[in-house]
């Protein structure tokens, strides 16, 4: 290492210390001499008075610590209350597989790529609370813009409050959820269902999407008084949209959708304070004087699984991992893990996976895989696991859980191949993205159209000759699908998602088996 670069690195390191930054800037390249000088600089800095926290820090600290202790105690109780008969031993292989999957994903996504998106993801993870005003504006194709809605948001841990334009407040404090309507002078108690999407501009979701899809930095702009990096994000086969990331906080502050159906929507945090002081009163359930209370099956927060079973009449199946909260309703139990929920209900009717869902296997039967939701039946229960830990938790309940493999070839065995015009498919995909012809997202509807056009090539008039009840999805790995047809000239239809292999991708027929 040259003398100059050592001087430069030392100087940069002192600047980082002075700016209260972490010492990431210190690239000593295993130079013991330089490491020693950095240590000496830190030692000299210890003569300086520490930068003290803001006023009210000990009280804030105490609140956070009390919350953490409470959470840990609840976890401990939930774990202790778990009846042994409910669940077997943790399937070690499933845990190992999940660990490996996370390792592979993390490396594939490049955790050390210190770009805007990585910094944003980190900032979102470290966000403990925020208060802001979110504005939604829409612009039409001729450039006219108008304000659609403005909401005020408070969020802290699992608690949040939203004040709408008309003053209506929706509050969820983790124990209760309610809506205060000043117009109706009414407080409505709402079901305490965990809801991951609180508005159309969810910071966590946007950070996740930006990381998932190809993105480029296209500029820097002042948004609501804050300097922000503008990112262009391109979902595969979809339309480009923009996200602005605050340079100071690394958090998203504005989202602009693509122009769809001649309309473009922009969500902007016109005011945003991350990691701030939030008055705890906002999350306290209070009925204003003279307001009536309307109850809408709010559910109950319970401490033990036995309690939940007694209230709901459901004997649940539990994963090894203990939930943060257990909610009991008249006919169902919800285990809440913060970012993931498990809902167990008494099933009604036959199990019918969503037509557009991919299919796997769980407890010896079909497993519906739909966005970040898994659903199947086991031991007389219908189980739905939704959220980021879905695979791990579902695997703990149903050890045979197998998710569809999108690399598995389902369509090559088609007896008759159908050629597809790629350009036409891409145009169709864009149409569907804009909200037109959503039937193309459903492999059953696509098969129905294809088969009936074979039967009546002049077009489908009125009721199709081979009705929808004759079609059944027998395989769907999210990239390819096979649909069986009960009668008529075609026995099987083979389909592919040619543009995008997720739930927003349209299906195209690529082959069939004549009967």
């Amino acid at each position: 290492m040259s003398k100059n670069s050592a001087e430069e690195k030392l100087s940069n390191y002192i600047d980082a210390l002075n700016n209260e930054q972490h010492s990431e800037t210190a690239d000593t390249a295993n130079d013991p001499e330089l490491e020693k000088l950095l240590a000496t600089a830190r030692l000299v800095r210890s003569l300086r008075e520490p930068v003290m926290p803001e006023d009210g820090y000990p009280q804030k600290l105490a609140r956070t610590v009390a919350g953490e202790v409470q959470k840990a105690r609840q976890n401990g109780q939930a774990a202790k209350s778990k009846p042994k008969s409910v669940k077997g031993i943790l399937p070690a292989m499933a845990a190992l597989a999940a660990g490996l999957l996370i390792f592979v994903l993390v490396n594939w996504l490049g955790p050390f790529n210190q770009d805007v998106v990585y910094a944003m993801e980190k900032a979102v993870t470290q966000l403990s609370n925020y208060h802001g005003i979110l504005e939604m504006r829409t612009k039409n194709a001729v450039g006219e813009e108008w304000l659609v809605r403005q909401v005020e948001l408070w969020a802290e841990d699992d608690k949040y409050a939203i004040r709408q334009d008309d003053g209506t407040l929706i509050i969820n404090n983790g124990r209760q959820k309610w809506q205060i309507s000043h117009n109706d002078r009414e407080v409505a108690l709402l079901p305490l269902l965990p809801d991951h999407t609180r508005n159309n501009f969810d910071l966590r979701d946007e950070a996740k999407r930006a990381k998932q899809y190809p993105h480029t930095i296209v500029g820097s702009e002042l948004i609501a008084g804050r300097q922000a990096t503008k990112l262009a994000i391109s979902p595969p086969g979809g339309m480009e949209y923009y996200l602005w990331v605050d340079i100071e906080t690394n958090l998203p502050i504005q989202l602009q959708t693509a122009m769809q159906n001649a309309l473009q929507t922009t969500y902007t945090f016109v005011s945003f304070k991350p990691n701030t002081e939030i008055d705890p009163q906002i999350f306290t359930y209070q009925v204003p004087q003279g307001y009536r209370v309307v109850e809408n099956e709010p559910g109950q927060l319970v401490a033990t699984v036995e309690e939940a079973a007694a209230i709901s009449g459901v004997t649940p199946l539990l994963p090894e991992k203990a939930p943060i909260r257990i909610l009991a309703f008249q006919d169902r139990i919800i285990f809440d893990y913060g970012d993931t929920t498990i809902t167990e209900t008494m099933p009604k009717g036959d199990f019918e996976p969503a037509a557009n869902a991919s299919l796997g296997v769980a407890a010896g039967g079909p497993l519906e895989v739909w966005w970040d939701r898994l659903r199947w039946r086991q031991n007389g229960l219908e189980i739905q696991v939704e959220g980021v830990q879905r695979l791990e938790l579902a695997g703990q309940i149903a050890p045979d859980l197998t998710v569809p493999n999108s690399n598995q070839d389902l369509v090559s065995k088609a007896q008759v191949k159908v050629s597809v015009d790629k350009e036409l498919v891409e145009a169709d995909q864009k149409q569907v993205d804009r909200g037109s012809s959503p039937w193309q997202l459903d492999p059953l509807q696509v098969s129905l159209t294809f088969v009936n056009l074979k039967v009546t090539p002049e077009g489908i008039q009125g009721e199709p000759e081979i009705p929808m009840s004759s079609y059944k999805v027998v395989a769907n790995n999210s990239a390819e699908a096979v649909v069986e047809v009960g009668h008529g000239p075609i026995e099987r239809v083979y389909l592919k998602r040619l543009v995008r292999q997720d739930e927003t991708g349209i299906w195209s027929v690529v082959g069939y088996d004549p009967r």
């Binding site: 030392l10 600047d15 010492s23 610590v65």
Partner: protein, 187 residues
């Protein structure tokens, strides 16, 4: 002085008791942690984590009420060490040499004072210009450009001078430590 029943209630998760303990102890703990991590964000994080861990030890009756602060300092050092290990895996360099849990607990205050005296003594042996440059750049936190302007030097000269000043200080501290070790050995 924190009453015994406050510890008990805090261990049970009573928010008021937790607040009493935090208010009474946070400042010396925070200063201690800040000294080690040298930035506010980390110091606040580690302080919070230290209380959560200490309370979990209290729930298991594993935290002493006497010398409670010393115990928390040891807990905080373990947290800093764990963070260092994790960050080291991510390629981040953090100083670890100064972290020695054995030093903490009761004797830490004395150690801190002794270390400060040692450092001030070594600083006093530097040339006047070297002392000024370290004071401006590190203790007062001026940028290279500001320091250069104040001293009538070029920015390059400031960088070279601070490099040399820290080399000289490092040598002086090494010599002093060596002498101390020799002194202890001869007793």
């Amino acid at each position: 002085m924190i009453a015994a029943d406050v510890y008990k209630k805090a261990a049970e998760g009573d928010p008021k008791a937790i607040e009493k303990i935090c208010v009474a102890t946070w400042e010396p703990l925070y200063r201690f942690i800040y000294y080690k991590v040298q930035n506010r964000e980390d110091a606040e994080d580690v302080t919070q984590e230290t209380y959560v861990k200490t309370l979990s030890y209290m729930q298991k009756n594993k935290a002493p009420q006497e010398n409670f602060l010393g115990f928390m300092k040891t807990v905080s050092l373990n947290i800093i060490r764990d963070r260092w290990r994790k960050e080291k895996r991510g390629g981040v360099l953090v100083n670890f040499q100064q972290i020695n849990p054995a030093e903490t607990a009761a004797g830490d205050q004395q150690n801190a004072i002794a270390q400060r005296l040692l450092l001030e003594g070594a600083m006093a042996k530097l040339s006047q210009e070297q002392q000024t440059i370290l004071e401006l750049r590190i203790i007062k936190g001026y940028s290279v450009a500001e320091t250069a302007k104040l001293l009538g030097k070029t920015e390059g000269a400031v960088r070279t001078a601070q490099h040399r000043a820290l080399q000289a200080l490092s040598r002086l501290l090494d010599d002093k430590e060596l002498q101390d070790q020799k002194g202890e050995g001869s007793c």
